[in-house]
């Protein structure tokens, strides 16, 4: 893990289908240590499926996925030890307190109980959640819960992070903290796989952007490179262009007129 050019993750010709529908059509991706990858694409492009495959949640796929030099199809879950994951929709066991949840996750990753506990307390303190740490997650606001889940994904000091829409519900200040944390983690040689629909953030955080459309990688470059290829100045503009979506203005106009027209009926 010392060499800066080492491949952390390598995906070769990844395919997957649900019944007759192809979700992924041959994805190729090489990820090096220390990269922050913004993994973007419209809804249903196959982003979540890719992440799920890499985490070993789905195993009817074609092609090769190699993480830390291990082909994950062997069924041995030990490669997951060095992976941190923030699921989308903030899924967690809500009936547990923040500390219980964190300790449990830490233990699942093979940490000692008291080490996990101590570390979790200190991390929560940084997020100013120390007073809420023995309250149940079900009483947390969305942002607080998200902070706990982010903490849970980092507790065991992973080398590879999969964050799925990790900043939803966070206020602007917390977002800046997280952004900075990501940058510093990457500087330490951690690899981050980041997927989000908030283009401004992806633009700011990522040093490489991978755009997925209909199960295929249509762009894989830095933001600067993307800007040169396209006439749009922002990532969301580039996103629109590459996904072939141009009629947002007319769609919006139709929508608003339907909203107003509906009132006369009722």
């Amino acid at each position: 893990m010392e060499a800066g050019s080492e491949n952390v993750l390598s995906i070769k010709n990844l395919t997957m289908s649900y019944g007759s529908k192809n979700v992924l059509n041959g994805i190729n991706l090489e990820v090096k240590k220390g990269e922050i990858i913004g993994y973007i694409g419209p809804n249903g492009a196959g982003k979540s499926s890719t992440v799920k495959i890499m985490l070993g949640l789905i195993d009817d796929y074609g092609g090769d996925v190699v993480i830390f030099g291990h082909n994950i199809s062997t069924g041995d879950p030990s490669y997951k030890r060095k992976i941190g994951y923030v699921p989308e929709n903030a899924e967690a066991y809500d009936n547990l307190t923040a500390m219980e949840y964190l300790i449990f996750t830490g233990e699942l990753y093979g940490m000692e109980r008291d080490v996990a506990e101590m570390k979790a307390e200190r991390l929560l303190e940084q997020f100013e959640l120390q007073d809420a740490r023995h309250s149940r997650l079900s009483s947390f606001s969305k942002g607080m819960k998200q902070k706990v889940l982010i903490t849970a994904s980092l507790l065991h000091d992973p080398d590879l992070l999969f964050w799925d829409e990790p900043l939803s519900g966070l206020d602007a200040n917390s977002m800046m903290v997280i952004q900075e944390i990501l940058a510093q983690l990457a500087a330490q040689g951690k690899t981050i796989f980041y997927s989000s629909h908030i283009m401004d953030l992806v633009e700011k955080i990522s040093n490489r952007i991978v755009l997925l459309v209909k199960g295929e990688v249509v762009a894989d470059a830095t933001f600067e490179e993307l800007k040169e290829m396209s006439e749009e100045g922002s990532l969301s503009g580039i996103f629109n262009q590459l996904t072939g979506f141009t009629e947002h203005r007319s769609k919006a106009r139709d929508f608003v007129s339907i909203v107003q027209g509906g009132q006369t009926d009722a």
Binding site: K21, L55, G75, E91, L108
Partner: protein
């Protein structure tokens, strides 16, 4: 978090798990978390403020099983005709365990949340699956202990030590059989279907299973010749398909020295089937977890369906727009929500089945004509028997969190929410069952029972209303989590269910004189009128039409 006694007991079997390839330490941690969460099923509103409701609600409702268990005692006392007595006893045990397994623990087995939270960590699938099944077995073991503890002592005293040993071993085998076979069944279904279709199929299988277990039990009783009082057992090949008989046989073999071939075969089956089941489950469980993923995917488009029956009901039964809205809402919830159907449809199936069962199996000599002259149509009250538990279920929904909508929307008269939902319940769930039974009974008992049927129907309405008044705590239907539905079996519900007997008694008294039934009908109507007025005070003006409608329906 605290230590759990059940986990300490489990540690005894550590060796077995390790040999099956399970990471025991990891499994223990997962179980500890799961058990901790089970203790905390309290409304989020009370969170952190009052900890009074703390504690495992399920364990607190176990005493009901203890009560049910008393049914077993007669079978342990009446003699030493073990193949008969113990088959029946195990029939009941299997019935209770199977029902509890399907209705309370299917959700645990099919939980997909584990996938994202645990499977993304370095834990093997085998360990996750084992944790799941052990989690369920801990509870099923509690149910078994609650249900059989007293009968076990009775058996020990009455038949001696050796009997108790066989009983205990068979109980363990039964628990294994129930849990593992159910899991294997889901495994097969998961293989062949996916997405929403899969969820529907699982739902129907669960409903069918629950009804099937009851019917199976009735078949079991018929396997013995009831006409002869010495209860002779004669073997038929299809008895091999009835598990309770497997478990009756060993007592016969070991205690009465029975050595007939079929008894030996039963005994072998009793031991072998659970063991084969658990071994094949251990082999197949990774694929179970894999296929669970399919529950999350659905790609099919569906067409809009319009339901004319619901539309008619909304127009005829409801007088205000708001009530109509809730009627339609409740009607589609009843049709679409799987969890609701799972809790409700088995009860409906039994309401449909029991009246016939009792009418046709009642000891008699004169055939159908003798039945036709009697009072046995009163068994139709079985339809009303289910009302309390069904009305209670109207409070719950999987999507209870969506209930904020009711508070956010400008609803003028909130009492219309429940009046609409109750009407929908009565039309969509109660009436169809009642009508089927009523039509068949009219055919058997002739038109003379028309006034009686009207009385039963009105009694059902009244019982619905009373149950609603007693059990409903929230302002709106479908706005509480099913997590709190578990105490459905406790005291209040029992009393409300037994209320049906009150109606039967009143009806019986009314039939003493020729005009009595009409007096009773009037009394019911008046009670309904007053009751509806009091429970839904803002709907005063609508009251008249409601009871009027009920009359038209039945007469």
């Amino acid at each position: 978090m605290r230590e759990f006694q059940s986990l300490k007991v489990l540690a005894v079997f550590k060796g077995i798990f390790t040999r099956l390839g399970v990471d025991y330490a990891m499994m223990e941690k997962i179980l500890q978390i799961k058990l901790t969460m089970d203790e905390r099923r309290v409304p989020t509103i009370f969170n952190d403020t009052g900890k009074k409701k703390e504690g495992n609600q399920f364990l607190k409702s176990l005493w009901v099983y203890g009560l049910y268990g008393l049914i077993l005692i007669p079978f342990l006392l009446i003699g030493e005709n073990y193949i008969f007595q113990m088959s029946l006893a195990f029939g009941m045990i299997l019935f209770i365990l199977m029902t509890s397994m399907i209705s309370d623990f299917s959700a645990v087995l099919l939980d997909v949340r584990d996938k994202n939270i645990i499977q993304t960590k370095p834990v093997t699938r085998r360990t996750i699956a084992a944790a799941k099944i052990v989690h369920i077995m801990i509870y099923i073991a509690f149910v078994t202990v609650a249900f059989t503890a007293i009968p076990f002592v009775v058996g020990l005293v009455n038949h001696g030590f050796f009997f108790a040993v066989i009983f205990l071993v068979e109980l363990i085998l039964t628990v294994l059989l129930v849990v593992v076979l159910t899991s294997l069944l889901y495994l097969v279904i998961l293989r062949f279907f996916d997405g929403d279709k899969l969820k529907d199929i699982i739902n129907y299988v669960q409903i069918l299973l629950s009804v099937g277990v009851v019917v199976g039990y009735q078949v079991l009783i018929r396997a013995f010749d009831f006409v002869d009082l010495d209860l002779a057992y004669s073997f038929s090949w299809w008895h091999l398909l009835i598990p309770p008989i497997w478990y009756g046989a060993p007592f016969e073999v070991f205690l009465n020295g029975g050595s007939a071939n079929y008894l030996i075969v039963f005994t072998v089956l009793a031991v072998l089937v659970p063991i084969i089941a658990i071994l094949s489950y251990a082999k197949l469980m990774p694929s179970f977890e894999r296929n669970l993923e399919k529950l999350l995917s659905d790609t099919k488009k569906r067409k809009k369906k319009r339901n004319w029956v619901d539309e008619m009901g909304a127009k005829l039964l409801c007088r205000s727009k708001e009530e109509r809205i809730f009627f339609r809402f409740a009607a589609s919830m009843m049709k679409k929500e799987r969890e609701f159907k799972l809790k409700v449809f088995p009860a409906l199936g039994m309401s449909l089945f029991f009246p016939f069962l009792f009418v046709f199996t009642y000891p008699r000599e004169g055939g159908l004509e003798e039945i036709a002259g009697g009072n046995m149509f009163l068994f139709i009250y079985f339809c009303n028997f289910m009302i309390p538990s069904l009305v209670y279920m109207l409070r719950f929904s999987e999507g209870y969190k969506g209930g904020w909508l009711f508070r956010a929307a400008p609803i003028e008269k909130t009492s219309r929410a429940y009046s609409g939902a109750l009407k929908a319940f009565f039309m969509k769930l109660y009436s169809p069952v009642f009508l089927v039974v009523a039509i068949f009974f009219l055919w058997i008992f002739t038109a003379r029972i028309l006034p009686d049927l009207a009385a039963v129907f009105l009694g059902g309405l009244l019982q619905t209303l009373i149950t609603h008044k007693v059990v409903t705590e929230d302002e709106f239907p479908f706005s509480a989590s099913f997590e709190f539905a578990q105490d459905a079996g406790t005291g209040k519900m029992l009393a409300l269910t037994l209320m049906t007997f009150g109606f039967v008694a009143a009806h019986f008294i009314a039939t003493a004189t020729t005009w009595g039934i009409y007096v009773y009908l009037v009394v019911l109507l008046v009670a309904l009128w007053i009751g509806w007025k009091r429970v839904f005070p803002e709907n005063r003006r609508r009251e008249k039409e409601d009871s009027g409608f009920a009359l038209n329906q039945t007469d």
